[in-house]
């Protein structure tokens, strides 16, 4: 370990070095300060309320990633074209890159970090791991959030239906066959 590494205060920096080892020294992240023109808003994310100062132009995705340190939601295109930034807002899946944070005050936002209960993973997360439904993993948080919604919507009646309703989430590693299997598995385990 190089000495510089101890300077990091955010878990993600540490995690990047710990793909296959135990994670150590987790501490919380200070938010990035913004320049002027900001207003204080309240975002309710994964059951926790956060006061954040944002400019109106800050997207929900950037607010999550840069202000709240919730980097699990990924930015694959920032233009609504890939699905990596999918989150749930009041239970419905949306693309967080095309919505402004100020528009989502008062809504209940769920990100991939909000699925597990402590060490216990959400059935969709379990199924993705069990089915090896990812490789690089960059699309995975979006796939998982989309899958949670897809199951809740009842769009998992057949493999074809799963494919149709998961087609807004690109996976360049093309773990698609395993994703479909994982969604089907999780749908069976999720009471509706």
């Amino acid at each position: 370990m190089t000495p510089q590494r101890s300077a990091y205060t955010r878990r993600t920096v540490l995690k990047s070095t710990a793909a296959a080892t135990a994670v150590t020294h987790l501490t919380s992240a200070p938010a990035i300060a913004d320049d002027g023109g900001t207003s204080e808003i309240t975002l309710s994310v994964n059951g926790q309320r956060h006061r954040v100062a944002v400019e109106p132009r800050v997207t929900l995705l950037d607010a999550l990633r840069e202000r709240l340190g919730l980097t699990g939601t990924k930015k694959g295109c920032d233009r609504g074209e890939c699905g990596a930034c999918t989150v749930l807002v009041d239970g419905e899946r949306i693309k967080s890159c095309l919505t402004l944070a100020v528009m989502r005050q008062g809504a209940e936002i769920t990100t991939v970090e909000g699925l597990a209960r402590g060490e216990e993973l959400h059935p969709v997360q379990e199924a993705f791991i069990r089915r090896d439904a990812f490789q690089c993993g960059a699309c995975t948080p979006g796939q998982i959030m989309s899958a949670v919604a897809c199951i809740n919507e009842g769009h998992t009646g057949s493999e074809a239906e799963i494919r149709e309703w998961m087609s807004g989430n690109l996976c360049r590693c093309a773990a698609y066959q395993n994703i479909v299997a994982a969604v089907a598995d999780a749908a069976k385990e999720t009471p509706r």
């Binding site: 510089q4 992240a29 090896d132 490789q135 690089c136 149709e164 590693c173 698609y176 395993n178």
Partner: protein, 739 residues
């Protein structure tokens, strides 16, 4: 030889990814997720022109923007302003000329990315716009303005094998084109450079090859390599697109100048400009054969557009040339392959690396030959298929299994899928573009050959350190290497090999960085082979050290014994490991033992084509691939599915659209990659015919399926439509055009 006790999760098992839970929880840190106190943001000003002379650069106004920390141009490059993967020809920041649209010209660091972008727009660059060179054949044959001092030919590989100028009873010719494909990894380029007090720098980066980055960065920064330390961050896919530098030098320059950590993240559009692409190709083929369909000769001219800078064009050219007749016995081969400079975007590594382009042509030719001699497409391939002991067009004797016939037979003999009644199964997806009227089914085949590892005399090696210690009563092995995980599952495989070799369950993988020796690139389907080989050797060294302590070597090695023998000691072994050497191709004849290993895959594609509207539904893809030894069978299937899907994309939708050197579709709305609806279920046979020269007999896995799926799908569309379809991607208008 000592037997070790098999533990759970050793080689041959479907051990789970050690990073799986982090990825599923959203806690795996990709390079774009990194954050550092006091960090500032870097952005890149790029040329809007494919070819122009820079007459002046004025950064005055940009520096005045509040919050700006630094604005840098070529004058600020501390070392040599030139880099390149194979040979240095690319400026870190353009000086007097820009050679492609998107070429970096200046850098800005500011305390907020929006501020940096605003300042970037205030940099005044005066260009004298020049007419771009975009025609590959003109560039190859001296009919275009030279873009580099030595002209526009990056490499011309000639392969002359067997008697030349022979004649045959049956001759089929064809001209084929492959469009420019993008790697389109989901996580755009990003990195974080952290300056240190002693003038050195740490770079946290998503890359395919830490040490190649380090070497190039050090030269550009004018620092000794040890002052440029790289650590791998989470990599959001690579597929060849991260083998060249993107912002590595830029981020370090800004960090060293500002004295602050600098984060750079490309957006999707910039990513299209920020990495090399797959070489577009134009190929002229002539196959001569007997009336029985036995190939007598192949003549080919292949033109690959390398774009503005060389990148790995030289190696891509060598692949296309040496693998240019496919996995077939061909007694007479005349191949000329050119890779050239143009003012198109630079092209370099992408999964399949030169073999993809040639395979589309030679497999299309095999189907034409089948037609010409009245044979089934599989039969004509089987009649010509190479096998172990075959002589390649390079003169190299294939000295390990080459089960081409078996692979073809396997895919041919799978039962064909029933015609679907489910409307969502029809071309056009759930849009039910057809109810089945006008829908024609087609079946097509493709088979591929790919070299594994680096070829052509490259010193291809990897370095691995294994430490064995006892922690809390448990034996723990830790593995350290600079070989990078890009999602393919290398970390899983390294754990599996260590478990099998040392008989310990707990294996930790250390951060991948440059504090250990070079491991080579995660490319060319080589890491499991080369770093796996190095790891096996390192484990053997650890075992030998253990045995030395025990005093004899014939007992099984198990966990309790290790704990007992080791006590509080640590065994620490570093091994540098090479595969057998390869040799330089003769420049006049293309002869030489240039490749270390060959890998083979075959595909059968079944498509439904709505011939009225030109829509294609790939109904099923069957693949058979020889992997020598499946270290992790599930990961092998993942590679075959992923590679096949990228081949499907090239077959029916993916192309970077260029107009006068400019990319017209730098987005995921306009550059389409397959969705889950486009990629059909696969039926896969994995053969394990060990290569006696390779660790565990394994063969590289990642690339062959990308190569053969494209020609198989296009062949199936041809079978359904009767159209010639000599260009990929095939679009609706190509299917419906009247000819």
């Amino acid at each position: 030889m000592t037997t070790t006790v098999a533990t759970q999760g050793g080689i041959g098992t479907n051990a789970q990814r050690p990073d799986g839970a982090l990825k599923a929880r959203g806690e795996f840190a990709y390079s774009s997720d990194l954050w550092h106190e006091d960090m500032v943001w870097g952005v890149t000003l790029r040329s809007p022109h494919p070819y122009a002379r820079i007459t002046s650069i004025d950064i005055t106004e940009a520096l005045r923007v509040p919050g700006v920390q630094a604005v840098l141009t070529h004058e600020d490059v501390p070392g040599t302003n030139i880099y390149g993967l194979e040979h240095p020809d690319q400026p870190v920041l353009a000086e007097d000329v820009v050679r492609y649209q998107g070429e970096p010209v200046a850098l800005v660091a500011a305390d907020h990315p929006e501020t940096a972008r605003r300042a970037m727009k205030r940099i005044e660059v005066a260009y004298e716009v020049l007419p771009p060179v975009v025609n590959t054949e003109d560039a190859a044959h001296g009919r275009a303005e030279p873009l580099h001092p030595n002209g526009n030919v990056v490499r011309h590989v000639k392969v002359r094998h067997g008697p030349q100028d022979v004649r045959a009873d049956v001759v089929v010719t064809g001209e084929y084109e492959v469009g420019m494909q993008d790697q389109a990894f989901l996580g755009p380029e990003s990195g974080l450079a952290v300056p240190a007090d002693d003038g050195s720098v740490d770079l946290y980066i998503a890359t395919q090859w830490l040490h190649a980055d380090q070497r190039q960065i050090a030269v550009a920064l004018g620092l000794p390599p040890e002052k440029v330390r790289l650590t791998l961050s989470g990599v959001g896919g690579a597929f060849g697109g991260r083998e060249d530098l993107s912002m590595q030098v830029h981020a370090c320059m800004l960090a060293l100048r500002t004295g602050k950590p600098v984060k750079m993240v490309y957006n999707r559009e910039e990513s299209f400009y920020g990495h090399v692409h797959r070489h577009p190709a134009r190929m002229y083929y002539e196959h001569g054969a007997t009336r029985n369909g036995k190939i007598v000769y192949v003549k080919a001219r292949i033109y690959l557009d390398g774009g503005a800078y060389a990148s790995s064009t030289g190696a891509v050219v060598a692949n296309a040339a040496t693998l240019g007749v496919g996995p077939y016995d061909v007694p007479s081969v005349t191949v000329d392959c050119w890779g050239v400079y143009t003012n198109n975007p630079p092209c370099g590594a992408m999964r399949g690396f030169g073999a993809v382009q040639a395979a589309f042509a030679y497999e299309s030719q095999m189907d034409r030959l089948a037609d010409a001699v009245g044979l089934d497409p599989v039969e004509v391939r089987i009649r010509n298929a190479m096998s172990e002991g075959a002589v390649m067009p390079t003169g190299q004797v294939v000295d390990s299994p080459a089960p081409v016939v078996e692979l073809l037979t396997l895919v041919r003999d799978k039962p064909l899928p029933a015609k679907g009644n489910d409307l969502t199964d029809m071309p056009g997806g759930v849009s039910n573009t057809t109810h089945g009227e006008g829908v024609v089914r087609g079946v097509g085949y493709g088979v591929s050959i790919k070299n594994v590892g680096f070829s052509d005399s490259f010193d291809d090696y990897s370095t691995v350190r294994v430490r064995l210690s006892v922690i809390g009563g448990q034996a723990v092995a830790s593995v350290h290497t600079a070989a990078v995980e890009v999602g393919q599952g290398l970390v899983t495989v390294l754990q599996q090999i260590t478990r099998t070799e040392l008989g310990v369950d707990v294996v930790t993988i250390e951060p991948m960085d440059t504090s250990i020796g070079d491991a080579g690139s995660t490319s060319a389907s080589r890491q499991t082979y080369v770093t796996g080989g190095a790891l096996r050797a390192a484990c053997a060294a650890v075992r030998a050290a253990l045995f030395e302590r025990i005093g004899h070597t014939d007992l099984p090695l198990d966990h309790d014994k290790i704990v007992e023998v080791l006590g509080t000691d640590v065994i620490d072994e570093v091994v540098e490991w090479r595969h057998r050497p390869t040799y330089r191709l003769d420049p006049e004849t293309g002869q030489g033992n240039a490749h270390v290993q060959y890998a083979f895959a075959a595909h059968r594609a079944v498509v439904d084509v709505d011939v009225e509207l030109g829509l294609v539904k790939v109904v099923e893809l069957v693949c058979a691939q020889d992997v020598g030894k499946a270290i992790n069978p599930e990961a092998v299937l993942g590679q075959i599915q992923g590679g096949t899907a990228q081949g499907l994309g090239l077959a029916v939708m993916e192309e970077i659209q260029l107009a006068d050197g400019k990319i017209r579709n730098p987005s995921f709305t306009d550059y389409l990659i397959p969705t889950v609806l486009d990629m059909p279920p696969m039926v896969i046979d994995v053969l394990e015919r060990p290569d006696p020269h390779a660790p565990y007999g394994l063969r590289g896995v990642g690339e062959p399926p990308t190569i053969s799926s494209t020609p198989a799908i296009v062949a199936a569309i041809r079978a359904a439509t009767g159209m010639a379809l000599t260009r990929v991607p095939v679009r609706p208008e190509h299917i419906t055009e009247t000819s």
